[in-house]
């Protein structure tokens, strides 16, 4: 088994268009959630989200590229550029043949579906653009990253709703750990902030109209976000040999299935994933200083997640810090685990734990140290990132300081 480290990170989300901007916002406890801006928003009852604002595709891509890149692909390519540039890697020869890209997304090209359904159903058109299919397919983003960087190894897309990114990163981790590939690009991307994308979520009646307040007694639901988070996972020896800057070590992961309900989370399923990740990483619960929570701000998730953390860590649950950065960037659905991994890297590398903002009232069902409202300085050696998806599919990743 090889050790696996992260040698590059990139992102674009409501908090910033780079890792440094995003971490700065997390340190300052800034909220990226605001009024949604897109066509027909006035027909929605939910009108807030963590939208990427002041974004103009044409400053990054030419017309021909835009005709092929859905917004989720654009976000992916921007985050991939930042991550791969930071790693300093170029892909040629043997490395190119073995390196691949595994990404998560729940919806893929949702706004491409939305725009083209509108064209044929509402506008009555009988013709759509020839690239609709290659633009909306869930693997479009992974494929474009492979083409842009000459990645010819194992490449595919994982779709497990809100756990997509964590499942994708777990796959990439496994490939590097077993020696299948020395380098894998991984993470996830999501962009479903368009009329149809939000309308579908609205139907479930779990969305907040005003704010995402994870763990707060007066929380009233989740808020959607959008964006991408990408990472370079690299064999430790490979990274060390070339003198790469190492952001953190990926120490282990676990995946479980609740096998119980399509939307309600389970304490046992979540706890088994947390314990499994620690076990896989060969760590004791007491070594964990920070948990980036799934923390959606729904009544059900936060209560269940706190019970699962209490179950998995025992007495240590009261000593560790657990925060939900969704309070700032919203729930990026299939990309959420990727952007949230940045909070884990910040805790390990910079010794700053991102807060749960919008926290107003303690909830006895969530009686853990949720780092309310203000970031905190702390020495953290091990951090976990939780993701618990609809469908009862859980994936937890453990990171270690190097």
């Amino acid at each position: 088994m090889r050790r696996v480290v992260i040698t590059g990170a990139g992102t674009i989300n409501a908090l910033g268009k780079s890792v440094s901007q995003t971490m700065e916002a997390m340190r300052e406890g800034r909220c990226g959630i605001g009024a949604l801006e897109f066509r027909d928003v006035e027909r929605l009852s939910i009108r807030i989200g963590g939208q990427v604002k002041d974004y103009d595709a044409e400053t990054h891509f030419n017309r021909q590229q835009i005709s092929l890149y859905d917004r989720f692909t654009q976000f992916t390519l921007l985050a991939a550029k930042e991550a791969i540039e930071q790693s300093g890697l170029t892909f040629a020869g043997e490395l190119a043949a073995k390196a691949g890209v595994v990404l998560g997304t729940a919806g893929g090209g949702v706004s491409t579906w939305d725009d083209n359904y509108r064209a044929v159903y509402e506008d009555g058109k009988n013709r759509v653009h020839p690239f609709v299919v290659p633009k909306l397919m869930n693997n479009a983003a992974a494929s474009h990253v492979s083409m842009a960087y000459n990645l010819k190894g194992p490449s595919f897309t994982v779709s497990t709703a809100c756990a997509s990114s964590n499942h994708a990163m777990a796959q990439a981790f496994q490939m590097v750990r077993t020696g299948m590939s020395p380098v894998m690009i991984t993470g996830g991307s999501e962009s479903m902030l368009c009329f149809g994308g939000v309308k579908a979520w609205e139907g479930l009646r779990v969305m907040s109209r005003d704010a995402c307040r994870p763990f707060s007694a007066n929380r009233n639901g989740m808020v959607q976000g959008e964006g991408a988070g990408l990472f370079v996972f690299e064999d430790f020896e490979h990274a060390r040999a070339r003198g790469a800057d190492i952001l953190a070590e990926v120490a282990g992961f676990a995946m479980t299935s609740d096998a119980s309900d399509i939307v309600m989370p389970s304490i046992q399923g979540a706890a088994r994933a947390i314990k499994g990740a620690l076990n896989d990483a060969g760590l004791n619960g007491e070594e964990v200083g920070y948990v980036n929570a799934h923390g959606t701000g729904t009544a059900a998730n936060d209560r269940t997640e706190c019970a699962a953390v209490a179950d998995a860590f025992g007495a240590h649950a009261d000593k560790l810090m657990i925060s939900s950065t969704k309070s700032m960037h919203g729930h990026l659905i299939g990309a959420t685990g990727a952007v949230e991994l940045l909070a884990c890297i910040m805790a390990l590398r910079d010794g700053i734990v991102a807060p749960t903002i919008g926290y107003q009232e303690p909830d006895p069902d969530c009686a853990l140290d949720v780092v309310p409202n203000e970031a905190r300085e702390a020495k953290v050696d091990v951090a976990l990132s939780n993701a618990f998806a609809f469908g009862g599919l859980n994936a937890v990743i453990a990171l270690k300081k190097v």
Partner: protein, 85 residues
Amino acid sequence: MNVKDRIVEIIAEQAVLEVSDVAMDNTLDDLGIDSLGLVESIFAIEEAFDIQVPFNANDPTDSGFDISSVASIVAAVEDLVKAQS
């Protein structure tokens, strides 16, 4: 069909019961309707009466729509139909 009969019909369908098995003082729990069933019932009620029901599954008691029994749902829908007509 009046509001009460239509709602009983919707709830009975959701609970997979006969209309005659739904009593006004039943809670949704009594009838075996879980949180997903509740959200589906509310959707069916909105469609049937062309109204907007203010309901947030995160805090059902704070939604201004009383779901504590079949009777309370009927009363709440009657109010909404009146208000939104």
